[in-house]
Symmetry: none
């Protein structure tokens, strides 16, 4: 089973946006066992869209198109597909009701351009959009499936998950593919690969291990392909548990769970409560915790103390400490932890203070120097991290390091 992804949009071809839709679809299709033969990006012109679809139809069974379905003049995918497949637009009342419902919720009037979004090619199966006004379309032409979806990643992903993938699964017989993801924090790709040399060498032909690194996190993905699902699951189970045994606490989760979600589930399970005292991360770590539904069980609030004054007033940091050691110091972090715990009456806390950059570095404490502290039931631990020279990346890495420190200390404690 071969497929091609066609992404449509001038913004891709002038480099204004990076096409992330293709990688997302490719990953999903890979899980299903559908091989992506080619990814093609073309501009919002009828000639190029037609040319790309025609060529793709010659070499593939499935063609997935994203983009060009918006209400504005430059969006021409729908009309172009109509022309290509010799069909015409007809009014679709379900799509129209969807437009009406979205606009009435927002309290906006419905404009002529929005009404146009409710017209769909007569020969297509409509893919109703649960998150936006532009419906998708599924065409069955010459025994090929052509799917056209909005380019907005969230709308496309929802449409794929709720509608397109279930349709594909019911229509085609796919080989059995089993994926298993393990997530690690706090160590690098080469450390892990060194540890797994023997396990990797022993992997059979039909099972592959991939390393997927991001800042502070390395995901490991085992992929097996076969015919007998039960047997394949058992094999993958075995290799998964071998890897877990070898890596120990470095593995924080099986499956696609964020580090914040993992930490939150431990806090919840162990009935711990947490507050954060954030300086250079400016509330980012707290916001990762608040992203987890149900966080009110263990999280009441945090203090963002960016200035010296805020650290003194809000977290009872001693002015002498700031003068003598500076805000980026073990001493300051220790006092921030105490102040945070006292303020929110929790038994756990995280404190972070550092030089995120681009300015403010010194020879002793260059940009990227970040102190992170964790306290659990009065047991405090502070570590110094030396990251790099990029503000955004330093904030992300500090957040991951802080959450991982808390995780390891929680495992230590309970």
């Amino acid at each position: 089973m071969l497929a091609e992804i066609i992404t449509i949009g001038d913004e891709i071809l002038i480099g204004q946006i990076v096409d992330t839709n293709s990688a997302w679809i490719a990953k999903e299709f890979n899980t299903l066992g559908i091989k992506i033969r080619q990814i093609t990006s073309v501009s919002d012109t009828a000639e190029q869209i037609k040319d790309a679809v025609n060529k793709a139809m010659k070499a593939n069974d499935i063609i997935l198109i994203t983009g060009g379905l918006g209400p504005t003049k430059d969006d021409i995918t729908k009309q172009t597909l109509c022309d290509l497949f010799n069909t015409s637009l007809v009014f679709d009342s379900i799509a129209y009701d969807n437009v009406v419902s979205i606009f009435s919720k927002k309290g906006y009037p419905i404009l002529e351009s929005n009404k146009q979004q409710a017209f769909l090619p007569q020969s297509c199966i409509p893919l109703y959009n649960t998150c936006g006004t532009a419906p998708g379309m599924l065409f069955n032409v010459d025994n090929k499936l052509i799917v056209s979806m909005p380019g907005v990643p969230y709308e496309m992903k929802t449409m794929m998950q709720l509608d397109v993938i279930p349709r594909l699964k019911s229509k085609f017989q796919f080989p059995v593919i089993v994926h298993r993801t393990l997530q690690t924090a706090g160590v690098g790709e080469s450390f892990i690969s060194e540890k797994l040399v023997k396990i990797e060498a022993a992997l059979p032909e039909h099972i592959k291990l991939a390393y997927l690194p991001s800042l502070g996190i390395v995901r490991l993905r085992l992929t097996g392909i076969g015919k007998n699902e039960k047997l394949l699951q058992e094999e993958i189970d075995m290799y998964t548990s071998n890897i877990k045994d070898e890596l120990g606490v470095v593995v924080f989760a099986e499956g696609d769970i964020s580090l914040a979600a993992c930490v939150c589930s431990i806090l919840k399970e162990k009935k711990q409560t947490i507050t954060l005292a954030e300086s250079c991360t400016g509330g980012y770590v707290s916001s990762l915790i608040v992203q987890i539904p149900g966080c009110s069980e263990y999280f009441m609030g945090s203090t963002i103390a960016y200035s010296y004054e805020a650290k003194e007033m809000e977290l009872d940091v001693n002015p002498d400490t700031l003068i003598k050691y500076g805000a980026v110091s073990e001493n300051c972090i220790n006092e921030m932890l105490l102040g945070a715990i006292k303020k929110f009456n929790t038994n756990c806390a995280i404190a972070i203070s550092g030089i995120a950059g681009p300015d403010g570095g010194t020879p002793d404490k260059p940009v990227g120097t970040i102190y992170i502290g964790v306290v659990i039931n009065k047991r405090q631990k502070v570590k110094r991290f030396n990251f790099e020279n990029n503000r955004e990346r330093n904030i992300e890495r500090a957040a991951m390091a802080a959450l991982n420190m808390l995780r390891l200390e929680l495992l230590n404690e309970f």
Copy 2:
């Protein structure tokens, strides 16, 4: 002048990596005035590489290829291009010296596979790699330029900047392309397009307007193509100012500036100071402000008050207010604003409280109900927003709405 980018690599087609090379090259070419007609990603197979290059040569003047030049067995781009262009590999001593120098620096022995990297197609102009072992190649076939470069982003970018772009500039006369981006907040794509109907209809053939929406933000991009740069700039200036006049305060920036950066520059310019009282956004809005370097001039800290108790203790919200109106109410926001200002002694503040979901909705206040308040010099304003049923998106939309409210009130005040 038309070009196509071909990225080669199985890792792209299974979604393991996002192809960021294409967007980078496209942006560079766009600045030069070379139009990217298509971006194509294919796997590491000779047949597909040949097919993609042949097709690209029919429709373009320049073909840029990245990937498949590594020392391992799966890297076959060099041999495939040799076959395609009827040439053979010859030893290149400069490329070999480069391999030797890199390996001796690392203290590694040179393997046979590395020696192979010093062989290059006889008919190509070598593009020596200053950051890695794989040289690039430039072919001139049938009056088309075909450039093959490594897939490692850093190596490719350096080769483009030091070698490929200067060669193109000396060889071709490029058309002039002018881009201008305007960013808007707080209104939808269709609202804007309705407002711009006349301006869009009056745009000449050689100037295009594109809409690029994300949560709470719509970017507008004017692109003009022509021969006379001064004339084109003047035309784009005129249309830009027409659009700005038509849209008014909805436009928050010209160019690629984030809404947070825009708000921060106003705070800085007007010498205002700010604090935030965040409930359902959990510190996210503060973290967007802290991402802007130099924020210590106007930002000292924030309060994340997630629980009722934290709102009472940290922001002096009256318990009666919480009982009578709830935390998601205009009354609570008004008190949060006062408490925040008092605590950090600033003259501006933002307060946010809402039901981000997935639980906690009521008939009166369904999930997505978020109150946002802004105070500037004692003038308070509170608005209720009705977003949707997705926690992560509600947090993002609340953040954008809050920053935009502050921006509009700052413009109102000064």
